[in-house]
């Protein structure tokens, strides 16, 4: 039985929204990163589902790019978080507002 594309897209959108909510509302920096990864993966899902339904592999190829970028970004971002933690001894991003006016 073939599942129509809407279900995949809705799932993807749902994941994306959860990710956005996580970025905007969670206090812990690591959790924020996880949410960002969630958003990236939802985008991946959308790409793959379209690739499958269109019949060409462009979407799937692009997923590789996204995954590479996500990995790089996670590495750099975690390094920044570690540096910040060493300075401020907290992962609560509400408290890291040095660039305030």
């Amino acid at each position: 039985m073939n599942i129509s594309i809407e279900y995949y897209l809705i799932l993807s959108a749902f994941m994306f929204v959860v990710g956005v909510a996580g970025v905007l509302t969670r206090r812990n920096a690591i959790i924020v990163f996880m949410s960002v990864e969630l958003m990236l993966n939802s985008a991946n899902l959308t790409l793959v589902s379209f690739s499958s339904f269109m019949g060409n592999s462009v979407g799937q190829l692009f997923v590789f790019f996204v995954m590479a970028v996500a990995a790089a970004e996670a590495a750099v971002g975690l390094a920044i978080i570690i540096a910040m933690f060493r300075n401020k001894l907290t992962l609560n991003i509400d408290e890291i507002n040095i660039l305030k006016w």
């Binding site: 905007l24 509400d94 507002n97 040095i98 660039l99």
Partner: protein, 645 residues
Amino acid sequence: MIQLIYLTVLLPFAGFLFNGLLGSKIKNEKVIGIIGSSTIGISFLIAIGAFFQTLSLPAEQRQTIVNLFTWLSAGGLHINVAYQVDQLSLTMAMIVTGVGFIIHVYSIGYMHGDKGFWRFFSYLNLFIFAMMNLVLSDNFVLMFLGWEGVGLCSYLLIGFWYDRKFEKGTTSDAAKKAFIVNRIGDFGFLLGLFVIYLTFGSLNFNDVFNKAAALNIPTSTFNFIALFLFIGATGKSAQIPLYIWLPDAMAGPTPVSALIHAATMVTAGVYMVARCSIIYASAPTILSIVAVVGALTALFAATIGLVQNDIKKVLAYSTVSQLGYMFLALGVGAFSAGIFHVMTHAFFKALLFLGAGSIIHAMHDEQDIRNYGGLKKYMPITFLTFLAASLAISGIPPFAGFFSKDEIIWDSFKNGNFILWLIGAVTAMMTAFYIFRLVYLTFYGKERFGHDKHPHESPKVMSIPLVILGILSTIGGFIGIPALFAGEGGNQFENWLKPVFAPAQLKLISFNSYGSSLEVSFMLITLAGAVVAIWFARYLYLKNLSLAHSFSQKFKGLYNLLLNKYFVDEVYDAAIVTPLIVSSEKFLWKIADNKIIDGTVNGTANLINLISKGIRKIQTGVVQFYALVMVLGIVIALFWIILSF
């Protein structure tokens, strides 16, 4: 000699430079004094030479222009440094250099020992330079240079003893007052010049006066010109309302008062009005104003002079009063009478001042006449010459003042009206009174000074000038003997000046001619009045001094009013000076400039600051806030795109 007339201007300037630059190095007073005086002496000789040369020319061709170089040239304005040698300017030039020379010689004695000796002579020479420019110039602008120049020298010389106190302030206050009041007059003078240029397209005397006589220019224009120029004259020649600087000018050394504030600078206004006779003749309303102002000033100043106790103040108010007479003369169209009085007044007033200087010198700087008395036995030459001058100013024949003053008083009746004559006659009586009050209180009676004062006659260098002026005050009037007595030829002085004033006389309405017996009777009336006044002064101040005191007690209010010169200075101060300074400081500076204008500028900066303070609150530093804003932005953008489909 006429062609060398510019030397009379240049030599004093050279004297100024020499004494000014080298004077402090030359320790010898004689050298400084001789250089300073001889420049004027030589100028006098040149002026005399030019006079005789001019006399040899036929009467209609007695004007020569000596052109030096182009001074200002722009647009239609062409002003040269050029000198006009004619009857009027030569008369003034001879008076200025002649009396000036005498006073320079006197100053060698008077200023002996003063550490600013060289400065004094340097300034005096600069003054003669400016005054000669004034009287010899052939155009209004060079005249204005002289006009302002004498104001400058007056400032420098009044404030000569710059570290001395004078009345409620300092000598520099008096000097500043003189300069600024003069400047107010100069403002009027400038306006007059502007209208002249606008109307006639030139500021050269001949251009303007010839066009004024020939062309048909509306009277209102002439009225403006005459009025504005007259305002300048009231400043320079100390008439109402700008006379207030002259009494204060007595802060300067006495030779300065004699030269500048009696004989020469203050007569500049008279000279100017006389020179512009054609303009005044074309503006009869203003001419009558000149006469009225002159008469009123004469009366007003004489009343103040009646009660002053400082010898120089009496003479100062007397000068203001006599200047009023000169303007009265001009105002009734008797131009040569006015100039005649300038000449005789120069003689006797300079003599009075120099005599006063002699007394002040002898009495060790005491100037209050209540502390004099009985000086005639100590200072006979001073006494005799002072007496001659007093007789002259009172109008007793055959002294000089009789002829000039009488002519004015008669002309004010003949060409003017009865009231002007009355004012002139009453003032003449007062003049005789106050001057002889001065004479009696100073030279006669009990000695009222302390034993520390040892009055003595002045040295020759001071007393010989007194004698010369005394002789001039005695016989100087004869060249102006009225036609009545002179026989054929008539009034020599008037004839000499007649061609200069002829165009003006043509424009003036011809006046009633009275019989000569009326003239003689008026002469006798004024003479009688003067004699009565002298007798009254003698009675009050020689015989019955206590009566004078009781008069001043009985009329205390009036006495105080006169003694305090009608409180005019105080009124001016309260009405004009203080409000101006206070409003400039409190309002213009502190409020308008600092708070309002600068406030706007700083306010703009503050406004921007305020806005920035508001806007920067967006920079919270919290990353999630930025993310939220980004998300919201994307959502809005998406909605927009979707909705536009």
